[in-house]
């Protein structure tokens, strides 16, 4: 009777958790309902964790003598892992969000891999199907762990340059094959009770070693601007691994949550790849910088530098301004100053909007969050397809730390590596100001014709410093008029 009650309770908690997660994610379809959606999902998580402790009543005979220690370990791990992550999640600067998301994602993948390791080392998987799924989940989870850690190191600036060696793809293919072979051999041996070439624990260690190396090697060659795609892919991977381990442990909530995340990661991956006009294969396996060595097209016109103050005053007397923020704004931490400047313009009656390219920044939607942090209301923030037709009727476009996403070569130059990529039509505006650190090229390593156009002026300098000068200039104007 008690056993049945327990089973019912655990089942009911599981069901409620699955519902709360789906409902919570569903409410993320609008910024208005999203916070409450997160609260629903959070309640589900808390219920799930407390519900897990009901497992102490169902454990097998072998684990009984260790129960007290295991419960203690569980509480310690929960409070330590949860506490540290909660604290860093509250503290971290929003510009460091991509690396934190990558790190958290790696942790999820690592947890899924570790569950598989417990099952495999303890020889707990029952039957061929469970064994295969456990090994598959272990592979995906381990790749997600080591790959996400490399992505974190790249985003955090610990690893500066993409590391590429000759024959990289061949090496990766060999390691992938080796991992699959070791995993397959292990499944074969374990399900047929054969005598393996080496002891089973060693086989498992070898398998995990190969999988971890695979994750490292596939992520090392990928450059910084491709990180939105990489983070989305590993998000999908971790979800998938969690779902598979959920099947092994026979916990439906894990299967559902994992699969939903897997689908969401896949969707975001495809969106990002489309916004860069590249296939996923191209992102993962080709070297973006290397293919751009071609004869430079001659560009007519010249770069026309102007003072920040002049640009600021020009915008003060415009009717409509569209701001195009890019990764350079995040690097300079200039979002607060940007909104301060925008508020001055608004106070002077200038209509200001923000235009966001899908791949601006280092993760999907990063610029939206930066602007929100600075206090910009989200009804002033527009996505590419919603604002692209309005550039032609706009007085001034202010491009800050963005380059390739406004390069008209995507429309005009068939030989350009970014040809066909959707861009913001900044070139259609009457006047364009570009805040840029120097005369260097963008990530894609190509010249931007926009910067040479007759109606485009360059404001060189750190984005934050330039914005401060613009603010001062417009303020000085106001006091002069008043006097």
């Amino acid at each position: 009777m008690l056993a049945m009650m327990l089973q019912l309770t655990i089942g009911a908690v599981d069901l409620a958790v699955a519902f709360l997660f789906m409902f919570g994610l569903w409410r993320m379809s609008s910024p208005v309902t999203a916070p409450s959606g997160m609260n629903f999902a959070g309640c589900g998580m808390v219920a799930a964790v407390f519900g897990s402790f009901l497992y102490v009543f169902t454990i097998g005979a072998a684990a009984k003598p260790h129960l007290a220690v295991n419960v203690l370990l569980a509480v310690a791990a929960l409070s330590l892992g949860g506490g540290v992550a909660w604290w860093s999640g509250r503290k971290v600067a929003l510009t460091a969000m991509p690396q934190l998301v990558a790190l958290l994602n790696g942790m999820g993948g690592g947890a899924a891999g570790a569950i598989a390791a417990v099952e495999l080392f303890g020889n707990k998987a029952q039957g061929g199907a469970q064994l295969i799924v456990a090994v598959l989940g272990a592979l995906i989870g381990a790749v997600s762990l080591s790959g996400s850690l490399i992505a974190w190191a790249k985003l955090d600036g610990i690893l500066k340059k993409p590391l590429r060696v000759r024959g990289q793809q061949l090496l990766n293919a060999v390691i992938l094959l080796a991992t699959v072979a070791v995993g397959g051999y292990f499944i074969f041996v374990a399900s047929n009770d054969l005598e393996p070439l080496m002891t089973e624990p060693h086989l498992i260690e070898l398998f995990f070693g190969c999988a971890l190396i695979l994750g490292i090697l596939t992520t090392l060659p990928i450059g910084g601007a491709d990180m939105p795609v990489v983070i989305a892919i590993y998000n999908a991977f971790t979800g998938l691994a969690v779902g598979l381990e959920g099947f092994v442990l026979q916990i439906p909530a894990l299967m559902i949550a994992g699969m939903v995340v897997g689908a969401s990661g896949l969707l975001l991956t495809l969106l990002m790849a489309k916004a860069m006009n590249r296939s996923i294969r191209n992102v993962l396996f080709s070297n973006f910088g290397a293919v751009t060595q071609r004869k430079e097209r001659s560009i007519n016109g010249s770069l026309k530098p102007v003072e920040a103050a002049d640009a600021g005053i020009f915008m003060r007397y415009a009717t409509s301004v569209i701001v195009v923020p890019g990764y350079g704004l995040a690097v300079a931490q200039g979002q607060q100053k940007l909104y301060e400047f925008v508020k001055l313009l608004q106070a002077a009656g200038v209509g200001v909007r923000f235009a966001i390219h899908p791949v601006a920044g280092r993760m999907p939607g990063q610029m939206d969050v930066l602007l929100a942090e600075a206090g910009v209301p989200y009804d002033l923030i527009f996505q590419l397809e919603d604002i692209n037709d309005d550039f032609a009727a706009t007085d001034v476009v202010l491009v800050i730390g963005a380059n390739d996403v406004v390069n008209p070569a995507a429309h005009t130059d068939k030989s350009s590596p970014i040809f066909g990529m959707p861009i913001l039509n900044a070139d259609k505006a009457k006047k364009i100001y570009v805040i840029k650190r120097g005369e260097g090229k963008g990530y894609a390593g190509i010249e931007n014709e926009l910067f040479y156009a007759d109606n485009c002026s360059m404001v060189y300098g750190d984005a934050q410093a330039v914005l401060v000068k613009m603010i001062e200039a417009v303020r000085a104007l106001g006091t002069a008029v008043a006097a």
Binding site: A41, A48, Y55, A74, L100, M259, L268, D368, Q383, D386
Partner: protein
Amino acid sequence: MNFQIDMNGFVALYIFMLAAFAGWVIIRGVPAILHTPLMSGSNFVHGIVVVGALFALLNASTATEQAIGFIAVLLGAGNAAGGYAVTDRMLAMFRLSGNEPKRRGKPRHVRSSHAGASASKKG
């Protein structure tokens, strides 16, 4: 009465398939402006792995299993707690022009002419 659900075989595949479809449809409705909170939010959702990790740790019977199980719970708990903390923090930052704390009575012609259009497109 037996409440044990046998999830071997096709039932599991049905769950996977339906969850994948539901996930795809739900996520497609999330506007691009929320893509970063969506990523960290879905990050939080796969933190449910902590439940599996707890199951594995509570059932551990050797030192190796206990050690790996401990790591699994540690990582899973970090995933869940960190994911929730950042997502909640980010979502709290999104607000409409009308809800501005300090500014009142300033001209907002941009908002009046575009807010409605953008809301319907993004929804």
